[in-house]
């Protein structure tokens, strides 16, 4: 089974028509890959479906806007993979999706 990172990299490549080999774990979805909010919405749908979760995008955005988090925590792909793993673990533990 492919890693969470590989799955989201594949989703981004397919959704945004970005060559898969240009996507790296250190890539920032917005700053490096140039993904805009509309494309990210499409990516969020694909990720939600693939992992059976509801990524709390609005909560994350609020945290960034309030200065409580950086965009790197959520939008650097290896970090995004970690966040998704946490959401999947929370869901499997029956603790909800964190949204």
């Amino acid at each position: 089974m492919s890693s969470t990172y590989d799955q989201i990299a594949n989703i981004i490549a397919e959704t945004c028509d970005i060559p898969r080999d240009t996507i790296k774990p250190e890539s920032h979805a917005i700053d490096d890959l140039g993904i805009d909010s509309l494309d990210f919405l499409d990516i969020a749908f694909a990720i939600d479906k693939a992992f059976g979760i509801k990524m709390p995008l609005e909560k994350w955005t609020q945290e960034v806007n309030d200065g409580k988090a950086t965009t790197e925590q959520y939008f650097v792909l290896k970090n995004l993979a970690d966040r998704i793993d946490e959401l999947v673990a929370a869901k499997n533990a029956g603790a909800g999706t964190g949204s």
């Binding site: 509309l38 919405l41 499409d42 969020a44 749908f45 609005e58």
Partner: protein
């Protein structure tokens, strides 16, 4: 259907908040200037209007599910298929189903039929935002009453 005001939905036939589905009817006008150009001698509903009708149907479903607390704005249309011609005077029945509710967005699937014949379908994504203007919300309430939106289903939910 009031094409001039882009009000494409005439009435809500069924809204099921548990199943997250809606069925609406839209009466295509027998005559409109659009049909003079689209096309001379062969008037048919433009695909963009069928797509908009599917989006508006989905929008009313989402308004019900969101209890009118947020407004769905059209963001992405995928797999829009115009499967057959829709002519002036025909009654379009559109059904929409919630496919996914994400954080700040929702995805529906919609289908439009004339009689039993499938005429159009699409997967539609909406951004969900607070109403940007209180008058907008008042207008949507008025429209809801006009098209028979079962407001009690929302208040009881």
């Amino acid at each position: 259907m009031d094409i001039n005001y882009f009000r494409l939905i005439d009435r809500i036939v069924d809204l099921n908040l548990d199943a997250k589905t809606i069925v609406v009817e839209a009466q295509v006008p027998a005559a409109h200037t659009i049909f003079e150009g689209h096309f001379p001698g062969f008037p048919i509903m433009p695909g963009v209007l069928l797509t908009e009708a599917m989006a508006q149907s989905s929008g009313w479903l989402l308004l019900g599910l969101l209890k009118f607390e947020r407004m769905p704005f059209l963001a992405i249309v995928k797999e829009a298929k115009m499967r057959g011609f829709v002519s002036p005077g025909q009654l379009l029945t559109i059904e929409a189903k919630l496919e996914h509710e994400g954080s700040g967005f929702a995805v529906t699937k919609a289908k439009g039929r004339v009689g039993k014949e499938l005429k159009c379908s699409a997967e539609i994504t909406f951004g969900l935002s607070p109403f940007p203007d209180p008058n907008f919300r008042v207008y949507m309430d008025e429209m809801a009453k006009k098209i028979g939106f079962p407001l009690q289903a929302v208040s009881n939910g």
